[in-house]
């Protein structure tokens, strides 16, 4: 039998349903890949082999009776941000090492309801704060892709670097991920995979370790646009346990694929060009426009004038929300508690200094600063006003366009260690993705080409709130036209 681990999620689910192979077989194949690859790629922080095989056998029993959900028997990876009942969940932090949730996140509960099999928990930047997976307490994830001009280990991006690396390296059929400023779409772009952040409120945040609650959304990283449509549908649901969950129907987005984009109006924002962006990324963006034009779409030049202010506003809002969310880690009820302290305050401060890594400490300090007396209006309130300006930019163009096409990232994957000199340089990775978080809009990154060094580059489609259908339709057309079939050469 051909290599089961190279299948798409769609092909695997169909094959399982047709009983061409069993869930146990494909699960064992992935577990073998993980065993070989993980010492090099570091994508999983916790493989759960026994649990995976138990779940696979249960799925096989259901499939044998002709039963089973839409993901029955499909082995998936889970970002270590989703609480999994009885399975350690750390969010990539020493603060939560040894934390075993006594409950399941709604997103993962939905996957198990639909028959999926959990292969393990995936590495990530600590508390999802990072763009290169280098802030993880478990060490950086390595990108399966190598540049043609250097043998250096490359970052898979972040914060969902483990998810992206595992999908690109055939260590799972698909993976869950989360996106606060670009943490699904940037790693997808860096690894030649597809990543979707749905409309804010589509996927429940219950049981997702919180970073910045007004921005956090779960979504999938997959090999194809169709796989993303399938997995996202399972992940999304209305959830009374999340006060911001939207009480709306979850459509079958795979129905949008293959639909012609003829007549669709695609916006090209003038402002999505940044200094130092490689010519290849610009060329790919132009190619994307040409593909959609050839497929019958109308290309419309638009302006989103507040784009350049999105990242600075984000670096006030996200740290402010984080400083509030992460106040719960005080070493009292769960999480790391320092062994010795002189007073209660000293115990809080020492526990947090020991438990949090450098980038998390930096962001919590910024957050406390912008919320502190005397600075609250100048920084925090101003950022919230700018946020509205950014959202209004989008509102103003939706009567002229149906979706927006942009590059996913300003560059291809970079070497581990390359951007650590200056935090702001690292933050610029999210320049094209963060606007969709601030405005709550759906966005997808689709692999669309390779740069001169042979590394994947992505294009992003942003849509109207709750209009993932058009986003998938356009993404499908881009995928068809790009014909992106390149895979990383196995070196691990």
């Amino acid at each position: 039998m051909s290599d089961l681990t190279k299948l798409t999620l769609k092909a695997a689910v169909d094959g399982l349903k047709a009983r061409d192979f069993s869930s146990e077989e494909i699960t064992r194949a992935f577990l073998a890949n993980i065993e070989t690859a993980n010492p090099r790629l570091n994508a999983y922080v916790l493989p759960t082999a026994d649990k995976a095989l138990d779940m696979a056998r249960a799925a096989d029993a259901r499939l044998a009776k002709g039963e089973g959900g839409p993901l029955e028997g499909a082995p998936l990876g889970v970002k270590d941000l989703f609480c999994t009942d009885g399975v350690q969940t750390t969010a990539g932090s020493n603060m939560l090492k040894g934390f075993v949730p006594p409950y399941e996140s709604t997103v993962t509960a939905n996957l198990w309801r639909d028959g999926a099999v959990m292969l393990g928990k995936l590495n990530m930047d600590e508390f999802a704060m990072g763009s290169s997976n280098e802030t993880s307490a478990f060490g950086p994830v390595v990108n399966p892709w190598k540049s043609g001009v250097s043998n250096a280990d490359l970052t898979p991006g972040g914060s969902s670097g483990g998810s992206a690396s595992a999908v690109a390296g055939d260590l799972c059929l698909a993976a869950t991920a989360s996106d606060t400023g670009g943490s699904i779409r940037q790693p997808a772009a860096f690894t030649g995979t597809v990543g979707v952040k749905p409309t804010y409120g589509r996927a429940s945040r219950f049981g997702m370790v919180a970073f910045a609650s007004s921005l956090d959304q779960a979504g999938p990283i997959t090999k194809t646009v169709e796989d993303a449509a399938i997995l996202l549908r399972s992940m999304c649901s209305f959830d009374p346990k999340d006060s911001t969950s939207l009480d709306v129907e979850t459509p079958d987005w795979s129905q949008s694929l293959g639909k012609s984009v003829k007549g669709l109006r695609i916006g090209i924002p003038n402002e999505y060009v940044v200094d130092g962006m490689p010519a290849e990324q610009m060329e790919l963006w132009e190619k994307g426009q040409a593909w959609l034009r050839e497929a019958g779409a109308e290309i419309v030049e638009i302006s989103l004038p507040h784009t350049k202010y999105a990242l600075p506003a984000y670096y006030i809002i996200a740290p402010a929300e984080a400083s509030s969310n992460l106040a719960r880690y005080d070493g009292m009820r769960f999480g790391h508690r320092a062994a010795e302290a002189k007073s209660l305050t000293d115990l809080y401060e020492t526990s947090r200094a020991e438990g949090f890594g450098k980038e998390v400490q930096r962001r919590l300090t910024i957050g406390a600063y912008v919320l502190s007396a005397g600075f609250y209006d100048a920084y925090y309130v101003r950022a919230l006003k700018v946020r509205r300006r950014i959202a209004e930019d989008f509102d103003k163009v939706w009567d002229r366009v149906d979706a927006i096409l942009t590059p996913s990232t300003p560059s291809a994957a970079f070497a581990i260690g390359d951007r650590q000199i200056d935090p702001v340089t690292m933050y610029l990775n999210d320049v094209f993705t963060v606007t969709a978080n601030l405005a709550g809009l759906p966005g997808i990154s689709v692999p669309a080409g390779l740069d001169k060094a042979g590394l994947p580059l992505g294009l992003q489609v942003i849509g109207k709130a709750l209009d993932e259908a058009t986003v998938f339709q356009v993404a499908g057309a881009l995928e068809d036209a790009a014909g992106f079939v390149a895979r990383p050469e196995k070196w691990w």
């Binding site: 009820r333 305050t345 400490q361 910024i366 101003r382």
Partner: protein
């Protein structure tokens, strides 16, 4: 609005993160780098703009005021660094 060492010390305390003296100066420099970049928000005309705290265009749902969960002492304590007799054990708060 440059941040000095005294401010960093105060803010680190607000954030309840113990920061060694030798780390304060480098942290001040990092924060100043980030804040200098953030300063560009002052260019935006935000006159009369309502602060945007949420993306959700629906009023917050209310639920019936009834108990729907509970009686999970063992679950609640299962990750406690220290517990005894169904309680969290914490250091002495009042001297």
């Amino acid at each position: 609005m440059a941040v000095d060492v005294a401010t960093v010390r105060r803010v680190a305390h607000l954030a309840r993160i113990k920061t060694p003296e030798e780390r304060l100066e480098p942290l001040a420099q990092e924060l100043n780098g980030i804040l200098a970049w953030i300063e560009q928000l002052n260019e935006v005309d935000v006159e009369g703009v309502e602060p945007m705290t949420s993306n959700v265009h629906q009023p917050l749902r209310l639920r019936d005021d009834v108990v729907t969960d509970g009686n999970k002492v063992a679950d609640v304590l299962s990750n406690a660094p220290k517990s005894a007799d169904g309680f969290f054990v914490v250091p002495k708060v009042v001297e």
